[in-house]
Symmetry: C2
Subunit: 276 residues, 2 copies
C-alpha cells in the first residue's frame, strides 16, 4: 500500500545533490529548509576540519545518515588494491569523526579482469576493512550499481548479487543500499528487497528518477517525477519490510547543479511530497 508522505522528517539530502554548495552551506541551508537528514560525500570534506563540521552538524540538529563513498576495491594491480583498503580505512575514520553510522560502498570493477574476479576482490576488500568498521561502530552498505556501470564502477549490478555477498559475509555490520536509479528495471526487485530486509541487511534507500531520454552516463539523473521510475511503489515495498530509515535524495545532474540551489531545494521538497 502506498501511503502519502506528509512531512520532511524522513527526508535526507546527499551533499552531491547540491554540489555547488560547500559542506557548511549544505548544513546551514538544509537545516533552514527543515531538512535534517544529510548524507555527506567525501569530496565535500576534503581539506576540511571535521571537528568543526561535526560541531556545525550538531548545532544545526542534523542527522548524518551516511558517508559516501567507500569501495573501489578491485584492480589487477595489487598496490592499487592496497591503496583502496587504505582509503576505505580512512573513510571509516572520517565517518567516525562525523558521527556517520554507515559508509556506502561503490564496490568498483576493473575492465582488465572478469566481473567474477572483481567480485572476489570486493568480497576480500570488505572482509579486510570490516573489523575496523565494526570497532568504529560504522556499518558498510554494498550498493548495487546499474549494469551500465559494470565496466568501471561496480561488478555488483543487481540487488540479488548484493544480497548474496552480504549473506556470505554474514555480519550485522555489512548490508545493502537500495537505489531506485540502479535497480528500478530489475524484475526481481521486490522479492530481493524482501529478502534483504529479512536478513536485516536493508541499510539505506536512495531516490531520484530515470529520465527518458537520459543523455549522460553519470550526471543526468532526474528529480523525482522527471522520469519513468514508479518511486511510490518501490517506496511502498521498502516500507512494507518495516524499514524506517530515511528517503535519501541523491541526484547527480548537470542541469540541476546549474540552477539556483535554494530554488532547487524548494523543488526537491515539492517533488518529495508529491512524486515520491
Amino acid at each position: 500500500m502506498i501511503t502519502a508522505i506528509k512531512d520532511f522528517s524522513k527526508l535526507c539530502l546527499h551533499t552531491m545533490t547540491t554540489r555547488p554548495w560547500t559542506i557548511e552551506e549544505c548544513i546551514r541551508n538544509y537545516s533552514e529548509a527543515g531538512i535534517h537528514g544529510i548524507t555527506i560525500w567525501r569530496n565535500a570534506i576534503e581539506n576540511v576540519n571535521l571537528k568543526r563540521v561535526k560541531t556545525l552538524l550538531d548545532d544545526s540538529g542534523m542527522d548524518v545518515v551516511s558517508l559516501c563513498r567507500g569501495g573501489f576495491f578491485p584492480s589487477v594491480n595489487a598496490m592499487k588494491r592496497q591503496a583502496a583498503i587504505d582509503d576505505n580505512l580512512f573513510a571509516i575514520e572520517q565517518a567516525e569523526a562525523l558521527g556517520a553510522p554507515l559508509i556506502v560502498l561503490v564496490c568498483g570493477a576493473d575492465k582488465e579482469q572478469s566481473l567474477e574476479k572483481s567480485r572476489d576482490q570486493i568480497h576480500e576488500g570488505i572482509l579486510r576493512i570490516l573489523p575496523t568498521a565494526q570497532q568504529a561502530g560504522v556499518k558498510l552498505a554494498i550498493e548495487p550499481l546499474h549494469p551500465m556501470y559494470a565496466g568501471d564502477r561496480s561488478a555488483i549490478n543487481t540487488i540479488k548479487q548484493a544480497n548474496d555477498m552480504a549473506e556470505q559475509i554474514n555480519s550485522p555490520w555489512t548490508g545493502v543500499a537500495v537505489d531506485v536509479y540502479h535497480l528500478w528495471w530489475d524484475p526481481e526487485l521486490r522479492e530481493e528487497i524482501d529478502r534483504c530486509a529479512l536478513n536485516r541487511h536493508l541499510f539505506a534507500f536512495h531516490i531520484c528518477d530515470w529520465k527518458v531520454p537520459t543523455i549522460d552516463f553519470l550526471n543526468d539523473r532526474g528529480l523525482m517525477g522527471e522520469g519513468c521510475i514508479n518511486i511510490p511503489v518501490i517506496r511502498s515495498w521498502i516500507e512494507s519490510t518495516g524499514f524506517t530509515g530515511y528517503n535519501e535524495v541523491e541526484i547527480f545532474s548537470n542541469i540541476h547543479w546549474g540552477e539556483d540551489q535554494f530554488a532547487y531545494i524548494g523543488k526537491i521538497k515539492q517533488a518529495y511530497l508529491t512524486k515520491t
Copy 2:
C-alpha cells in the same frame, strides 16, 4: 573450450555497422571482402526496390541472416499499438521478399506505463503477428536489451525474461537473439544461454564490445577488442550448445562511421579473427 576462428564463413555484418553505405554498397563490398552473411536493417531498404536487392543478394552469393528490426509493441495509446502491429506485418513482407528467415524484435517500452504492462503488450503483439510470420516462413527473435534501455526501447532486459516469454509463447517460430553488448554483465548469462538452446530458442548471436568509458547511449559501441567484454568466452558458451549460426557484427559507432568504411571492414575482419 574456446576454439580459434579460422575463417570468415560464419561472419555476418549488420548493414548498420557500415551505416554510410547504401544497401547496394553493403552487398557489393561485403561480398568482395569475402563476407557472405548480411543482416539488413530496414533503414537501408527504405524506398528501395526489394526485387532488385534480392537479385543483387543472390548474384553476390549473400546469405541474409535476418532483418532488423521489428518490435516496439508497447504504448499507452491503442492506435500506436495497432500501428506497431501494421509495421511488424510490413516487416514480415519485407523479410519474405529478401529471403530473410528471421526478424529481430527490439520489443519496445513506454515510459508512461509499468514495465510489466509493456511486457504484456509485447507478448500480445508477438501473438498477433505470429501467424503471419509462420505463414511467411519468417522466425521472430526477442532481443533482450541492456537495462539502460528499459525506459524507452525495451521492457525485456535480461535473457531470462526473453527466455520466459519465448517459453510462454511456445512456438518454434519465436526465439531469442543474444547480443553480448546487452547481456555481458548478467551473472546468469551462461545458464540462460543453455536454457535458451535447450528450448531450441537460440536464434541469433550478435557481437561488438563495451567501451570503458562509454560516452553515448546509442552510438558508442566498440569493435571487438576495444572494450571489456570477454567475447571469446561468451562465444564458447554459445557454441557449446551446438549453435552453428553466424557471429553477427552489429556496431553502432559515430567514431567508426566516420572512418573510411573499406579500411574499417579490414579492421573488423582482423578483430574477428583475433578478438572474437
